[in-house]
């Protein structure tokens, strides 16, 4: 690990202001950042610890939603009775991620901001445009079993590894931030994570000195909520494909559906057209096929991850059939 100075933040604006300094990094749970620092993928010269800031509450919002402080631990969020009752997809997605020890430490904001698990991003001896802009992408022609099939670029085919963010995408969450002037902003989660394009090193729409303070959930939409995660082992593994689905259906007919996917792209993937195909449609194989076609439009495999295209289709079929009892 490279040497750094350690400082505890006294206030949110102080943390935001401090984060602008060259080499400065905010640390919360640290489960991803310290891992990367040990490998010298991340080499901050200053760590600003925000763990003692009062950002660890889950509160009801006036509109019937929830406001989740950025320091709420993944385990506490998953276990919150309101989340379990009203946002089951979020609880289930959180419980699908990492291990109990990591969930006890990992925070809401940190989960959103975690870095990709691309092997080449982690290996400092290999080219990676995300870690070292302009150096190339070793995954394109490398071992790319876990990589993206949607929204990729010639510069990067990494995926975003979060389960939590996929559920939040289906729930239309908003990310609340504060900047060093103390101004607060709201970023819809759809706009929070970016596609790699030519600048895969820029992963979110956060501006310098802007830090996450909370995530808000609107009131839950009608319907059943499911999180299905497909992975190489039954527990404690990242998703090859995951689906956060919220489906309102009755007697073989779908009223409305929301679908967000993990493991497929540089951000949680959601396709409005697929959801439109499902709305007011009969719950049958033909409908599910049409929706899957819309989700996978433009999908491209890179050899090792070609299997993700049929796997996504089958996973979506299975989830929709189960949810609509078709």
């Amino acid at each position: 690990m490279k040497a750094f100075t350690y400082q505890r933040a006294d206030s949110t604006t102080q943390a935001a202001a401090g984060s602008v300094r060259p080499g400065a990094k905010i640390i919360a749970g640290g489960t991803n950042l310290l891992d990367l620092m040990k490998l010298q993928v991340e080499t901050p010269s200053q760590l600003i610890d925000i763990n003692r800031l009062p950002l660890d509450k889950i509160e009801e919002t006036p509109d019937g939603g929830l406001r989740i402080g950025t320091l709420v631990r993944n385990s506490d969020l998953a276990a919150d009775p309101r989340v379990r009752q009203r946002y089951g997809v979020l609880s289930r997605a959180l419980l699908a991620g990492a291990s109990a020890q990591l969930r006890n430490k990992a925070t809401t904001g940190g989960n959103l901001l975690q870095r990709t698990r691309c092997y080449y991003f982690y290996d400092v001896t290999k080219p990676c445009n995300k870690r070292s802009p302009g150096s190339g992408c070793a995954a394109l022609a490398g071992f790319n079993r876990i990589h993206a099939i949607l929204g990729t670029s010639d510069h990067c085919i990494a995926t975003h590894p979060s389960d939590m963010a996929v559920a939040m995408r289906a729930l239309d969450a908003n990310v609340e931030t504060i900047n060093r002037q103390g101004e607060t902003m709201v970023i819809p989660i759809a706009e929070f994570h970016r596609l790699p394009g030519k600048t895969p090193e820029i992963e979110t729409s956060l501006k310098p000195g802007e830090i996450v303070t909370a995530v808000t959930l609107p009131p839950p939409p009608p319907g059943v909520q499911v999180y299905r995660k497909v992975r190489d082992r039954a527990s404690y593994a990242f998703a090859l494909v995951s689906v956060a689905a919220i489906v309102d259906s009755t007697r073989g007919r779908i009223r409305s559906a929301r679908l967000a996917f993990g493991g497929l792209a540089h951000k949680p993937w959601r396709v409005a057209q697929a959801e439109q195909q499902l709305a007011n449609a009969p719950a049958n194989t033909a409908t599910f096929n049409t929706a899957a076609n819309a989700v996978l439009e433009g999908a491209r495999g890179f050899g090792g991850n070609d299997f993700k295209i049929p796997l996504t289709r089958r996973t979506l079929h299975s989830v929709l059939a189960e949810m609509t009892q078709a």
Binding site: M1, L34, K38, A78, L95, Q101, N104, K105
Partner: protein
């Protein structure tokens, strides 16, 4: 404050407290001190960062340490306090051998900095037994042969202590059928899912599950 405390020589004084290594203090110091330096990694061209002062309450004893800020909680325990029960397996939060309890909650001590836990209370495997009376989970691991090589065992046991507390508090798991039920029954599937952060390369898993069930009072 423990009478053994010193900012200058944390190893020397702490080691004498531990009967298990009473006779090997000098040899231990010779091997642990260089490793303590190595554990923090190369300092590089820059001046070393200012040290962090950290107060930790470990197994009921107060410890005052002055540490390179890079020191993980695991390295603080092992290299500075000679509490070597917590093991370094992967050092990347993937194996669970370093599991300890902070304020009663299990975490990977390799993936957190000691400085982040200033003022907090930590329980390690060394803090579970009452003298010669083993913690029920320790006794159950012995009785059910919940290990072969034993390297993962302290992490498994600390993790199980945390897991049973989580279960009592009603924490659900990924395999809990109904998230709205207040507390899931600890079936074998629940125990396996909840313990998935602890890897055992000897694959003593069936016996680990049996030991946990016995300690939890679940018929095996």
């Amino acid at each position: 404050m423990d009478e053994h405390e010193s900012n200058e020589e944390p190893n020397t004084l702490e080691v004498t407290r531990r009967t298990v290594i009473e006779t090997g203090t000098t040899a231990l110091l010779l091997t642990t001190l260089p490793r303590a330096v190595l554990a923090a990694g190369p300092v590089g061209d820059n001046e070393p960062p200012p040290p962090a002062k950290v107060e930790l309450q470990i197994n009921g004893h107060a410890h005052s340490l002055t540490l390179d800020p890079r020191t993980t909680l695991l390295d603080a325990l092992r290299e500075h306090l000679a509490l070597t029960g917590s093991k370094k397996g992967c050092d990347h939060g993937q194996c669970g051998a370093c599991t300890v309890l902070i304020e009663g909650r299990r975490i990977n001590s390799c993936l957190t900095l000691a400085a982040m836990h200033d003022g907090q209370s930590i329980t390690t495997i060394e803090g579970l037994a009452w003298g010669d009376d083993l913690h029920p989970l320790q006794a159950a691991f012995v009785e059910h042969d919940g290990f072969q090589c034993g390297y993962c065992t302290s992490g498994q046991i600390c993790s199980a202590v945390g897991m049973l507390a989580e279960s009592q508090q009603g924490m659900p798991s990924y395999v809990t059928n109904d998230l709205t039920q207040p507390a899931a029954e600890l079936t074998d599937a629940e125990i396996r899912e909840r313990m998935s952060g602890n890897i055992c390369r000897c694959a003593a898993y069936p016996n680990i599950v049996a030991a946990i069930k016995q300690a939890a009072g679940i018929p095996t």
